[in-house]
């Protein structure tokens, strides 16, 4: 699955990897971030 050209929905976790960190990673892979959030799963 190639990330380049995909539209990414980011579901971060306050106790894991938060949304902005995931966003930076996924953008660097060439995907467009269409939604990003950081949720507390607990």
């Amino acid at each position: 699955m190639e990330l380049k050209g995909k539209k990414a929905i980011i579901l971060g976790d306050r106790d894991g990897i938060p949304g902005p960190a995931l966003e930076a990673c996924i953008r660097s892979a060439g995907a467009e971030v269409v939604f990003a959030s950081t949720e507390c799963f607990v």
């Binding site: 190639e2 990414a8 929905i9 579901l11 990897i17 930076a24 892979a29 959030s37």
Partner: protein
């Protein structure tokens, strides 16, 4: 997954072709990550939110999965993710999210 996020995911799946969408998870442990992956593919297992009974079939990956990690700029991954990779149970998380995706993802 919280109600607001379920609502947003549902809206995005209506707005964009589902095959163009990918969900990236950052969950701290396997069970919660698996539940999020299940919610966006097979519907809300708790039958509580907007995705209850809604099988979007979206593909969800955890950022730790090699398939995703290898596409990220290594410097960015190092800065943003590698610390948590050292403290979380990567194998359990990867296995759980992959298993849910293989069961339910349709796109």
């Amino acid at each position: 997954m919280d109600m607001e996020n379920q609502r947003r995911v549902k809206e995005l799946a209506e707005k964009y072709p589902k095959e163009d969408l990918v969900v990236i998870l950052g969950g701290a442990e396997a069970e919660a990550s698996g539940l999020a992956a299940e919610t966006v593919s097979n519907g809300d297992p708790a039958w509580a939110g907007p995705l209850a009974g809604v099988q979007l079939g979206l593909k969800a990956y955890h950022i730790f999965e090699p398939e995703i990690k290898e596409q990220v700029d290594p410097a960015v991954y190092e800065e943003q993710v590698s610390l948590m990779e050292m403290v979380l149970d990567v194998d359990a998380i990867v296995q759980e999210v992959r298993s849910i995706r293989e069961q339910y993802a349709a796109w």
